[in-house]
Symmetry: C2
Subunit: 348 residues, 2 copies
DNA sequence: CTGAAAGCGCTAACAC
DNA sequence: GTGTTAGCGCTTTCAG
């Protein structure tokens, strides 16, 4: 064509380098072998002779070949990709889970697709369609209430699924978590053993937190204690909400009170506000949080809390999935209870 | 076959549902149309007649069809996937970036593959190979020192890349961040304007933090101040390190001192330890942090800090990438400075 | 508006 | 050890 083609200037061929991304046939041609041999050098090197391997490696290096795992995955029906859905990564527990999980999976050659679902139940079917459409080899989800349709999609995907955070009553496949009601009960027992009889809770409005609060009040009452206040704050938990919560408690502080907060953020806020208001901690107000953030350990006074191992949970989740993906342990459902423990500190 | 096949029991056909995952041809057959028509119903609905659309939709619904985006991506050479690499998600700044970025991208139909690189420079070429092999349509990376080989891979991938966090001197493509040295300089100016003349820094050993510290000391000296201590703590920043850092400063607190910490975690630790040691804040020791964590605002005393918008950065990063992916603004490099600002509080 | 043919880049399965 | 053939499940392209 010698006619003008205005507004569509072709890129001048200044650099002689090939513009198209290099693929396996390019490498094969450069090395003088079949594409399949290149594939073997990459995936099963021990089935290729050293000389061939060297030739192919050189070609790969020279051309800067990066294998297209998408194409490979389509062919082998393995994406070497796993999806993870968590409500948030702002919470140290979940950031620990995600960090440990992505790390473990990457070591094993898997990439993690992360989805952050938020605490409100949005349209889970749309989310799952977006995820399952990418054909992950496995799935990590955070125990939560899913719609029947969404649940159905998960089951029909026929991939290993691990639910974390909550030992739920209706496990889909594998579960790694703990019993939130029991956490609350143990904190109540902890307070009672220290002679407390008046109790209050300060909970975020997410379902697990509420469960912990319920476990707490039930056990406290069972042991003859009195619940004098049950405040619920909108999730996510903040220090500000903790401070506000404590101000709501001030009229009740004429006598000794034990407060259970659903998060260390709330607990820190409560302790800080107590200091400002001249309420003695732990003499007048004893406080226990949840999550064992660094904050609780390093604050003055240090704050009693419940430790839950996010990192360990993420690592465990990766390891049960990897085992299942490796074809071991058939389809045995696995249900791992992650231990939690109360760490007594200066605030109680 | 009537012979025994021990150890390989076939799954009994108890449920009559098809076990194989349903694909586009199944839907096409069920709806009595060509596969291509099913594809159009999903991707370009306005090019299909309402009646056909209805038939196909019904078939999709009935079979529970979830389109294989991997296959579609191979064909269309678009994965509708983007990768993000951040050093950590434990830091509120980065968790904000990741949260906002994944959210924005998901809204636009993209899934995010997350990689957490850590602060140590591990083998970046291996990491990039794992990521680029999945053919993301775009990339978000956290400005950092990459090896020449790794950089080469990024360039040859020929996809939009946005670097966040640092306005670096050698942008690969697009950049969204700020000048860390200038942050330090402005904090120094802030202190000087308040009459300070003796300064100290407490920095984490990551390169941006060090840059902020250098900016601080240079400006402080330029304005006639004296730097009496420069401590560097191993990354990541912790409250514990802040407390320890303050103890190292005690011998220097005979006179008024202004301390710049590379993170609010360090600043909170320093302020807390100061309270324990009976050092008056801000009268004897003035403290400024970095990051504007909730902690700093809600602590007593509240802590002066530098605000950087993680959420806004993540959202910006998504929007420049999406614009580029939509084919607008050609290949204009984009360099967005995210504003930062000092928030003066009770600790200064 | 709908369909048929071809092929995305790779690997499973089977030859040699 | 290495090569050949035939797809993986979708979309592009072109024809009607």
């Amino acid at each position: 064509m010698t006619t003008n083609t205005p507004h569509q200037p072709e890129p001048p061929p200044e650099t002689s380098k090939p513009r198209a991304p290099v693929k396996i046939t390019d490498v094969a041609a450069a090395a003088g072998v079949a594409p399949m041999t290149v594939s073997r050098v990459i995936n099963t090197p021990d089935r290729v002779s050293p000389e061939t391997t060297a030739k192919v490696r050189a070609a790969i290096e020279k051309l800067g070949y990066v294998p297209n795992l998408i194409a490979g995955g389509l062919s082998s029906r393995k994406s070497r990709t796993v999806a993870a859905i968590v409500p948030t990564i702002a919470h140290p527990m979940f950031s620990g889970v995600v960090q440990a999980f992505t790390d473990s999976m990457r070591r094993a050659g898997y990439q993690v697709m992360l989805s952050i679902s938020g605490y409100e139940d949005t349209d889970d079917e749309t989310l799952f369609r977006a995820i399952l459409g990418r054909r992950p080899d496995a799935l990590l989800i955070t125990g939560s209430a899913y719609s029947p349709g969404a649940l159905q999609m998960l089951i029909e995907a026929r991939i290993p699924i691990v639910e974390i955070w909550d030992v739920s009553s209706r496990p889909i496949d594998m579960v790694i978590g703990f019993d939130h009601a029991r956490v609350g009960a143990e904190v109540a027992a902890f307070f009672c053993e220290r002679g407390h009889t008046r109790f209050a809770t300060l909970m975020a409005s997410d379902s697990r937190a509420v469960t912990r609060g319920r476990g707490f009040t039930e056990e406290a009452i069972r042991r003859g204690g009195a619940i004098v206040s049950e405040q619920v704050m909108p999730a996510p938990s903040t220090i500000a909400a903790g401070r506000e919560g404590l101000r709501g408690l001030l009229p009740l502080l004429d006598d000794r009170l034990a407060l259970f907060c659903s998060s260390d953020m709330l607990a820190f806020g409560a302790v800080t506000e107590a200091r400002m208001q001249g309420v003695a901690v732990p003499d007048r107000l004893a406080v226990c949080g949840f999550g064992n953030f660094e904050l609780s350990e390093m604050n003055e006074p240090s704050i009693t809390t419940v430790n839950v191992e996010g990192v360990q949970t993420g690592r465990n989740a990766a390891s049960v999935l990897l085992r299942r993906l490796a074809g071991e342990n058939g389809h045995q459902p696995e249900q791992v209870e992650v231990p939690f423990r109360i760490i007594a500190r200066a605030s109680t």
